[in-house]
Amino acid sequence: MENFLYLLPEVFLFVVATILLILGLFIKNIRLINNLSIISLLIGLILIINQPYQSIFDNSYVIDEFSTVFKSMILIGSIASLMMFISSKEDLHIDFYEFPILIIFATLGMMVMVSSNDLLSMFIGLELQSLSLYVLAALNRNSLLSSEAGIKYFILGALSSGLLLFGISYIYGFSGNTNFNLIAVNYDTESLGLLLGIVFVSAGLAFKISAVPFHMWTPDVYQGAPTPITGFFALAPKVAAMGLLVRFLLNSFGEIYLDWQQIIFFISIASMAFAAFAAIAQKNIKRLMAYSSIGHIGFALIGVACVSSEGLRSLVIYLMIYLIMNIAAFSFILSLKRNDAYFENISDMSGMYKNHPFSTILIALLMFSLAGIPPLAGFFGKFYIFVAAIESNMTFLAVIGIIASVISAFYYLRIVKIIYFDEPKDEFDGFSIRSLNILFYTSSFLIIAFFIYPVPVLSVAEYAVRSFF
């Protein structure tokens, strides 16, 4: 029973979600439910930060520095997407009060994922997260694209769960344990069966972080799902699955890292290269963001491949900056609104500079940051990653990363060119929505201010790594 006291944030969020679920039935005020959800997520964030470090339930659920940092990132992502939701719910036909509740349940699943130290809790957390996300993707029932996104995500997600379970069965069969630490003690280094298990579990997790070659669902789902949900997809689940991947690989197979390092090499290089070229031809900004997130995951995976404390530290820094940049990007996409209709094509943004001079400066800076141009935050994310790669004697990874980064600069800068130099169109009225403005200006400020005062981010990353090295 006292174990549940250590689970206070998780239990709190679950209780709040069920109470809000019942409350929403009687109070037909979606805005109120949404605000209550944001407040409870904020309380959850405080509870997480104050959570005592502990391994509970036979060491299958670990609360440590790493999980605390990742959970905080996940909650910030969830809060951001709830703020995006409130600005757009009517126009996108997603005014269901279940939206914030499903987001809380998905957040709960992700919290279980980053804390799990056992194959069972890993799988259950993953399923809780995915199941909520499948529903969210298909939430706009009037849109064929949204239904398509839901079905595609569901079928490919089920496939990836199948791969994951197959891998788990091999790992369990060849080590006799489901706990990560016990697997590390018990496996038989001679057996190829274990390696097959690692391959399949990594493939299943690569689906969730949408790394190439398991990325096929990403562009369609990102385009089809309503924009606040696309934002959520880009923010929280990637961070959670990345945390899970790191804990799974390092805790159970940290000793035999040479065996799985090449898998990470391959998916990292493939993601960076593929995203750099595939995004060039995109016309829809959400599709472009999908490819952009595939590319960013490729860069972040370099940090995993390093298997060093610098690598992990740079991964955490990268994910934090990625989170902030995506909050800015999606609140900007949601601002592209004119007469209750949303615009998603890149060509719709032409000449925006004329009507929104101040916002477009920030958008241009955001694009520079996504492309990794100094002195913005995105540059430093990549910088730390490449430094870590070079320190681990993997210069070729850094070189490929820099080449991919240069190529991908093309499509980010193309947006800047369209905004500044093409024929102007009518004014967008979405730039006056308060909740979006809060998100957009705060995250833009953080992107610009990072190089002046990077210490908080660096020290948090340093702190998170303490669980492993």
């Binding site: 679950f14 809790s121 190829l192 097959l196």
Partner: protein
């Protein structure tokens, strides 16, 4: 030993064949029936493994509830059962290639691995903590203690599944006349009681 081995191969062979039939049968109802057959045989394998409780649960839950539900759904939907041959042929080569690579991998693993795993203690004697207890007792003694977290989280997953299916399918239609008994029986404010003088009548 040999009898259990023989039954194992029998059950596994039937599972493989019936799973193949699930995806290749032309009539979707037949597919579901083959699915039930493979569930039953999987339950048989559980019995060989001395996991009687799981075997019974598999039959009750999967055959009794899930598969019957599938059967209802398949019969309710008007699914055209004709899948064009061309479509199958189009994806056949790549499917076969992936399948062959996969089988080759598994064979390599099987050849290069010593399958004698007695060195790992828990695999050689998996039920060492539960000597003399029945299956049901053993599961019951850990499910609500050591595995309570998983148990509760699975419950949350089911709750999310329920919320999801309702959100995605419930539509509130306007103009539907529902039966609301209390309103229909309520006479307050809807009828007037009038004293009618004899021979005069009332204005309606």
């Amino acid at each position: 030993m040999t009898i259990s081995l023989l039954t194992f191969y029998l059950f596994s062979a039937v599972i493989l064949l019936s799973s193949l039939m699930v995806i290749s049968a032309k009539n979707p109802v037949h597919s579901v029936l083959f699915l039930i057959l493979s569930f039953l045989n999987a339950a048989g394998i559980f019995v060989i493994l001395h996991a009687e409780f799981l075997a019974m649960i598999l039959i009750i839950v999967y055959v009794g509830a899930v598969a019957v539900l599938f059967l209802f759904v398949v019969m309710m939907l008007d699914i055209k059962s004709s899948i064009s041959k061309e479509n199958i042929l189009q994806y056949m080569p790549i499917g076969l290639l992936v399948g062959l690579v996969f089988i080759a991998e598994l064979v390599i693993v099987l050849i290069n691995t010593k399958l004698d795993l007695t060195s790992i203690q828990i695999l050689s004697n998996p039920m060492s903590n539960f000597v003399g207890q029945s299956n049901t007792e053993a599961i019951g003694s850990v499910l609500y203690t050591n595995y309570i977290l998983y148990f509760q989280l699975s419950g949350i997953i089911l709750l999310v599944a329920m919320i999801g299916s309702i959100v995605l399918t419930l539509r509130e239609r306007e103009g539907v006349k529902r039966q609301i008994i209390s309103e229909q029986l309520d006479r307050r404010g809807k009828i007037d009681l009038v004293d009618v003088k004899s021979g005069e009548g009332i204005d309606v």
